[in-house]
Symmetry: C2
Subunit: 411 residues, 2 copies
């Protein structure tokens, strides 16, 4: 166990400043001049000139016209060379596989959805590789520009081996070596990430969050997960499995859970749990065919539509769910004291109106810091595809995002 910290030196500093400049340009859709880059990054004009020359040589950025501002010579605007590096993001969800092709700015160039006809791992991996090929062919991009595939999967994952352990909703999966299998089948570098972590990375890539801010990301999917963002970076955890919150107790009167506890998030707040509560209350008829992801999704939509149509029973069921979500969120925000809360994921849009109306006050009431500060609540900027987009951003992140930790000399 090494108990000493490493220093830094000039080459490390140069790499870091290069990624700071790239990020500043990425975060300004209209581009930036060298003078503006000096102002934005605090770096000297000489450093900015040297680094932008290198980035132009590597085709990561390009010159995009000149503007005249007041006296003096016109300024050249620099912007990302969007097509110079691409990535593919895949979200493996129990109900649906989503694939996106992203350019270097994080913009979605192509998108594909695939229903999961089987939860057999071989079938899924073969279908994934086929869909990747079809996506590349259809988009007519240069295959060499694709830096890799990011795959977002339900946790837990074994990051060291690139395997998916035993995701609760993919019943036949057990220690599936997804990374190697997909690398073999697609011939591209693959990076595995938890779906909730990937979703938070997608949010960070929108550029709508301060680069050094913190937030708790709550992911509402078939399962419910979370991600923690501190100093503008996702906290991945020691084994890259942070964000497992399914067994935090939110309702002491809730149903028993397989884990041995009672009233966990898993049996109270998930879409399936909410649908079952509505069925028990007689708000939804109990003629549901299956408890597979697709049936639950359809029933959940039905419940939300009933509530939106003024059905007080449906409204009460959803309000109870939002109340239970607030217990979970306040447990985590009281512990973590983040700047704000961001909610997203495939079930978010159906709950957003009610959550944004009720959550702020519920959280204020149970906030340990209500005397000092407010806790803003917002919906994610990225929509339902947040998992797939995030998986693609994780790959681009390796090229683009500055990390202060990368300044330290290697051991």
């Amino acid at each position: 166990m090494d108990l000493r910290r490493r220093g830094t030196n000039l080459p490390k500093m140069g790499d870091f400043n290069q990624s700071v400049i790239l990020e500043a340009i990425r975060r300004s859709p209209g581009g930036l001049s060298r003078t503006e880059l000096v102002g934005a990054t605090g770096l000297s004009a000489q450093t900015v000139t040297n680094i932008t020359r290198r980035l132009l040589d590597e085709r990561l950025i390009e010159e995009a016209g000149r503007t005249i501002q007041g006296p003096g010579k016109p300024r050249t605007t620099l912007r990302l060379n969007a097509g110079s590096r691409l990535s593919i993001g895949v979200h493996l969800d129990p109900a649906m596989m989503t694939l996106v092709l992203l350019d270097l700015t994080g913009a979605v160039l192509e998108r594909t959805r695939l229903r999961m006809h089987s939860d057999d791992a071989r079938w899924i991996i073969a279908a994934m590789a086929d869909s990747v090929e079809a996506l590349i062919r259809r988009s007519h991009v240069d295959r060499d520009a694709i830096t890799g595939i990011g795959v977002a999967t339900p946790g837990p994952i074994d990051a060291a081996h690139g395997t998916v352990i035993d995701p609760p909703k993919l019943h036949s999966w057990h220690r599936v070596p997804l990374r190697h299998a997909l690398e073999d089948a697609a011939g591209l570098h693959v990076r595995l990430e938890k779906d909730t972590t990937a979703a938070a990375v997608a949010e960070l890539w929108t550029g709508e969050h301060p680069p050094d801010g913190s937030f708790l990301f709550v992911y509402l999917g078939i399962g419910i997960g979370a991600a923690l963002v501190l100093d503008g970076a996702v906290v991945r955890g020691a084994s890259r499995n942070a964000g497992e919150i399914g067994h935090i107790m939110v309702d002491p009167d809730g149903p028993e859970c397989l884990c041995g506890r009672r009233g966990c998030v898993e049996v109270v707040c998930t879409p399936q749990a909410i649908v079952e509560r509505a069925e028990r209350a007689g708000v939804l008829s109990d003629d549901r065919v299956g408890s597979d992801a697709e049936s639950v999704d359809a029933r959940f939509t039905e419940l939300c539509e009933q509530a939106a149509g003024g059905d007080s029973g449906a409204r009460a069921v959803l309000e109870t769910a939002v109340h239970h979500l607030s217990v979970l969120i306040s447990d985590l925000t009281n512990m973590l004291d983040v700047d704000r809360v961001v909610l997203g994921g495939p079930f978010w849009s159906r709950l957003s109106e009610m959550c944004l109306a009720l959550l702020p006050d519920l959280l204020r009431r149970s906030s340990a810091t209500r005397a000092v500060r407010a806790l803003p609540v917002a919906g994610a900027v990225v929509g339902d595809d947040v998992g797939a987009v995030g998986a693609g951003c994780v790959v681009l992140d390796e090229v683009l995002t500055p990390r202060a930790a990368a300044l330290l000399l290697d051991s």
Copy 2:
């Protein structure tokens, strides 16, 4: 809202490398030679020579003899100049005020304890200032060497104004401007910190934890709190109030809490809650005089002694408490995926044997990552004074500890 990240430059790099070298020397009680510093930090020999010369000039380090290792000229050992900078740490606990005087290595030179005869804020602050003076006088140190006073208090705090808001166990306290009042009374720079955060800083200062590791620190005091350490630094939170975990539900069959929930940590896991459970179960007689901190402390000791003496009823009460603690800890470790768990605080030593025997297995069973990794559990290295020592270390930290974030240029 600035959405751009700052770069770094040579002066920032120099400051950072200086603190890296200071920390490396501090973490080696026997001192280090310049050659060893090159190996430990990864810095060049020239950089190490320049920085150590500056540190010698500032009297932060000193030469401590020469050693001959193999051929070549003898090496000069460098070590911290322990007396060159001092700090005072104060822990304001509802039952007891503890004061320590620390040298630059974090070693305790003097210690004082003071019973809290009143919870009146004026009385407490006057007593604190008097005790600081007495401590300085008794230790015969140079007052100019004292860089400041760190005060650890129960949260929540208003860090911007240096006030203690309304700590649950200090009934007459409400928005007490502790920082200003003590600065006025003692004539020294004062820094306020939450007790749990301070305790985690003390743990980090022992040098027994890897500089880039993560742990969850669980503080067992009159109240129960937590702190999160990531990349070798405490996560303080947006308002410096991270670690409020008192209302996480751990027992669905537990008593009602004033917060409106049931079975919270506050009414299940605190020493008072455990003592009350023992009284209800007839394990302790119900002739307790008061529910003040001192009576609870004495009853808790009695309960632990009964359990150690083989009383099965007392053992059962404590085992239940440890089980409930495991629910809290697994909620947080599943979310945060830290390297390990460290427990400490004034009640820790009485529970340590049972916790270390039971917790690892309880946590393994409810771990989301049990297929990938183990979650080690350890007791704090610092003893009951961890709050006061930590408060003093917080002040020394400002002088000594490298922060990668400090590399970034100011806005």
